[in-house]
């Protein structure tokens, strides 16, 4: 094991800002993509449903 304590782990040998800055932005962007994708799907579903009701097609 490389790390003896958690603070040593977070310090990353003095490179903490660079290492964690890389990982944090990567995961933030991945989370943002997943959330925006979910929103896009919901909006598309809403549009498709409203189109169906406005055209009067019953279930």
């Amino acid at each position: 094991m490389t790390w003896n304590t958690w603070s040593e782990f977070f310090a990353m040998g003095g490179y903490g800002l660079y290492v964690w800055g890389s990982y944090a932005v990567t995961f933030a962007l991945i989370a943002a993509e997943v959330i925006s994708l979910r929103r896009r799907r919901r909006a598309a579903l809403r549009d498709a449903r409203s189109l169906r009701t406005s055209e009067g097609t019953e279930r």
Binding site: R41, R49, T57
Partner: protein, 260 residues
């Protein structure tokens, strides 16, 4: 006579339809919905294993200390940025050649994820460059061509958004994507063709790996995780695009009326 010739035609038609069946958005939509969660789960598991190796198994680098641990996302993200572009251009070209609706949708579904990984490659590269090279950015061949890749993705997305008719947008974007493919070998071979600050290839098929086995294992697991993630996200985005573009179709009405 005619009775005998019928099965031949029928066989050919059924053979063709089994190949082309999933080329229709109607058949692809449920298939993508069924597959996407599995790719998502695979991405999470591979990512967890990769991160564990990256932070708890892989040793400290003799030259770069702990700063090198950026490699576990930087290199896989850079690979994905190039690979996704090639796949996107492949679908775009297929759409141009065969005029299939789904091809353009797939190309559009891949573009945002490709742009995401390109940005991650550039961002992590800058954060890696500062402590090791002493600078966030240099205008050298590798970095500049990767930045051009980001602009190609932005150009694709911008062009798609600018043209109202999706089929026309697909064709215009396909031309852009295909022209931009020339940038991919330039990125890949830039470290050989030009004298750059960027180090050479981390992994090569022709040479024995120059890094510790655990480092390589962590990097490959992260690459696989990004790969699975990209497939999952591309499938889900393709589904959203199908919903947006085909919302007037009867099968959509049935699909969203019956299930979710």
């Amino acid at each position: 006579m005619t009775g005998r010739s019928l099965p031949r035609g029928g066989l050919a038609a059924s053979g063709r339809s089994s190949w082309f069946r999933f080329a229709s958005p109607q058949a692809f939509y449920p298939l993508a919905g069924a597959l996407a969660p599995w790719f998502g789960i695979a991405a999470a598991l591979l990512g967890a294993a990769g991160l564990y190796i990256a932070f708890f198994i892989a040793p400290t680098d003799a030259q770069q200390g702990e700063a090198y641990r950026i490699i576990f996302i930087h290199v896989p993200a850079a690979w994905m940025s190039m690979f996704l572009y090639v796949v996107m251009a492949f679908w775009a070209g297929l759409g141009l050649a065969f005029n299939t609706r789904l091809s353009g949708m797939m190309a559009s579904a891949l573009a945002p994820t490709g742009a995401l990984f390109t940005f991650i490659a550039l961002w992590t590269g800058a954060l890696w460059g500062k402590p090791t090279w002493g600078t966030w950015w240099v205008w050298d061949a590798r970095l500049t061509s990767e930045l051009i890749l980001l602009f190609l993705y932005f150009g694709f997305l911008g062009l798609q958004a600018a043209i109202d008719d999706p089929r026309r947008a697909d064709r215009a974007c396909a031309v852009l994507a295909l022209v931009g493919v020339v940038n991919i070998p330039i990125i890949y071979y830039s470290v050989q063709w030009w004298n750059t600050l960027h180090q050479g290839a981390s992994v090569s098929l022709s040479k024995a790996p120059s890094m510790a086995t655990t480092m390589l294992a962590g990097m490959l697991l992260m690459a696989l995780a990004f790969w699975m993630y990209s497939i999952a996200v591309a499938l889900l985005r393709a589904r959203a695009i199908i919903l947006e573009r085909e919302r007037r179709a009867d099968w959509i009405t049935q699909a969203i009326g019956a299930g979710r």
